[in-house]
């Protein structure tokens, strides 16, 4: 039972990562490999602000805003020109991989490549004890925030006019513009929200591990891909389910089989799910005219 809780605790951080990326990858179908760098840069900004003595909520909020603004800047300078030329998916992949390498290298130079201590003061510490079971407060908070983000995003996407506009842009940018929707604004808002949630995920992961380095989130790129594929491309609720399931599968694989096979088993599980359900757990099957 405790290992199930550990799996859900790990999954709670994956939920936030998955929710942050699902707007861009899942909904807008833009493959940006720079996502983890936005997370890392924003988390470092939060760390630097915490060191100045700024209260945790303000430092986290400032880091999130930084992540949102950086993502908008990346969209405006790198991705929008590609969109305007109707560039293929491969162009986005190549360009964002290059940008990710640049951002990672600059951060490595700025931090001298060292692993920094991430202060846990101000974040929930300790664990809720129920009998022999232990539920870390930090992960309970992460899960609560993740679920809150899922609910808020789902409501926003399905109930607000701007959310509906975003979905229309995701479906067809040209058709949406013919209907008078400002697609540029839709993209900017999506990138901003994604950047903010992504940095929030980074902050909670850094607080959980009490450390941060330029490369400490590099494994999250694979996690993000796995979560949204498992949950279903474009489904916010799917990202939530995918994150939790992936966390539990990884922990169970580590405990009952081998730590070295953990990632392989998690990916094998995703493969099996996709064979049985190609659109993911909560994704909608797509039909196309051939």
């Amino acid at each position: 039972m405790q290992q199930l809780i550990n799996g859900l605790a790990l999954g709670s951080t994956y939920v936030l990562v998955g929710v942050g990326v699902t707007l861009i990858w899942g909904l807008l179908r833009i493959l940006t490999f720079v996502h983890v760098q936005v997370l890392t840069w924003g988390t470092f900004v939060t760390l630097w602000l915490l060191r100045t003595g700024l209260p945790v909520p303000l430092a986290v909020l400032a880091g999130m805003l930084f992540g949102g603004v950086v993502y908008i800047a990346i969209d405006a300078t790198v991705l929008r020109p590609l969109r305007s030329r109707n560039a293929g998916e491969f162009s986005y992949v190549i360009v964002t991989i290059g940008l990710a390498l640049v951002l990672e290298t600059v951060l490595r130079m700025l931090t001298d490549g060292s692993t920094e201590a991430f202060p846990r003061d101000g974040f929930p510490q300790g664990a809720l004890r129920i009998g022999s079971l232990s539920l870390p407060w930090l992960h309970l908070a992460t899960l609560a925030i993740g679920l809150l983000c899922v609910a808020a995003l789902s409501l926003w996407l399905h109930r607000s006019s701007f959310g509906r506009s975003l979905r229309a842009v995701a479906y067809s940018r040209d058709d949406a513009e013919l209907l008078g929707i400002n697609s540029g604004a839709a993209y900017r808002v999506a990138f901003f929200i994604s950047g903010m949630i992504t940095v929030l995920a980074g902050v909670f992961i850094a607080a959980s591990t009490a450390s941060l380095s330029y490369s400490s989130a590099s494994h999250l790129l694979l996690v993000a891909v796995a979560v949204i594929i498992l949950g279903g491309m474009g489904s916010v609720a799917g990202a939530c389910a995918g994150g939790l399931i992936l966390g539990v599968v990884e922990v169970m694989a580590q405990v009952h089989l081998s730590s070295e096979l953990r990632d392989a088993i998690a990916l094998l599980f995703i493969l099996v799910v996709l064979v049985l359900r190609p659109s993911g757990l909560m994704g909608r099957a797509e039909a196309s005219r051939v």
Partner: protein, 395 residues
Amino acid sequence: MFTRKLRPVTAAVVLGVAAVSACSAPGQAEQPAEGFPREIRIGVPLDTSGPVGPVVEIGLSEREGIRVAAAEINESGLLGDSKIVLMETDTAANRNEAVKAVTQYVDKGVHGIVGFTLTPSFAAAAPVAQRTKIPVVAVGLSGGGVEETGDLVFRTYPNVATTVYPPADVAFAKDFGAKTAGLIYASDNDSSVAINKARKEALEKAGVKVVENVAIGSQDTELRAALTKLKGASPDVVVASTTPGQVPAFASQAAEVGLDSRMITVDGTQTPATLKAAGEELQCAVFQAVWSTISTKGNNEHFIKEFDKRSEREPDTFAAASYDGLWVLATAMKAANSTQPGKVREALLKIKDHQGALGTYDYTQGTGAPTLSGEAMIIDGGKAKAYESGQSCTA
């Protein structure tokens, strides 16, 4: 920041060019029968750039330790009118670069090599130095397979898997009255695997039953599953052979899952960054440190003073081991009154009471490895302190 990163490369190039141009007869080492040449050329192959940030930091620390030692030796007149000239090479965490560097040292006639940040680079390049009769003092390698390379190869940093951790673990376990132990190690890291194996064998030999041996990845920071498994075995002590960077996650997550066994961790736990990140959760953790700022062994206090005076970096274990490396070689040359490899080797093997930053060096066992064992430490009140046998600690 760019200038800081470019500085090592520039300095290495400048020093290298200066050293080469200063050579009166490039291509062959000056090996007078007795006494010293005007310039004693020392090859310094270190990883001061490369893809892995922490490795670069180690390389930079090592280079600084060697520079401080060179300046001090030259000022002291230890080698008479002769001066040590460093030929620094950035081997960029690349074994091919390391081999290239040593080959160039051979061409340029160096009298000794002090360096090597990573084992793969050393393993590829040190045999070249051995074949061409250049004495080598390896400074940053903590695993096995160093002095075994050849009779001209020596080391300053002890093999932690044989002489540092296992005997300390047994002493700690005895102090705590531990009957059972749980082990955790990084299965994808050769050093961690070797250390864990040696610790396990030593504990079992001492009558401590190993009730759980859990593997993690060296990059893992989410350790709750592994720690829960350890908790299930209820060991009296938990022996962590993780990387130092994993210690904060190990300590904080152990507290979260309710693992309250006494912790025996690794060297590096005493660094300010680790202590700050781990907070109160490391209280009462013990470990064996090869070097620390509070150590009074050897001439460590002098080293720290000199390092603070001559360098902008903070002293650390790698700077200390490198500082000792050049001093050990220079001391042997002085004793031999020669730079001839055979005589330097003989003099190195006679070093018995050399006071270094890591402690008192004794190479008389003839293996090329010093008899250093480090110092027992305990975390108390957020600080690393010397640990005395039987010392109590309030968690």
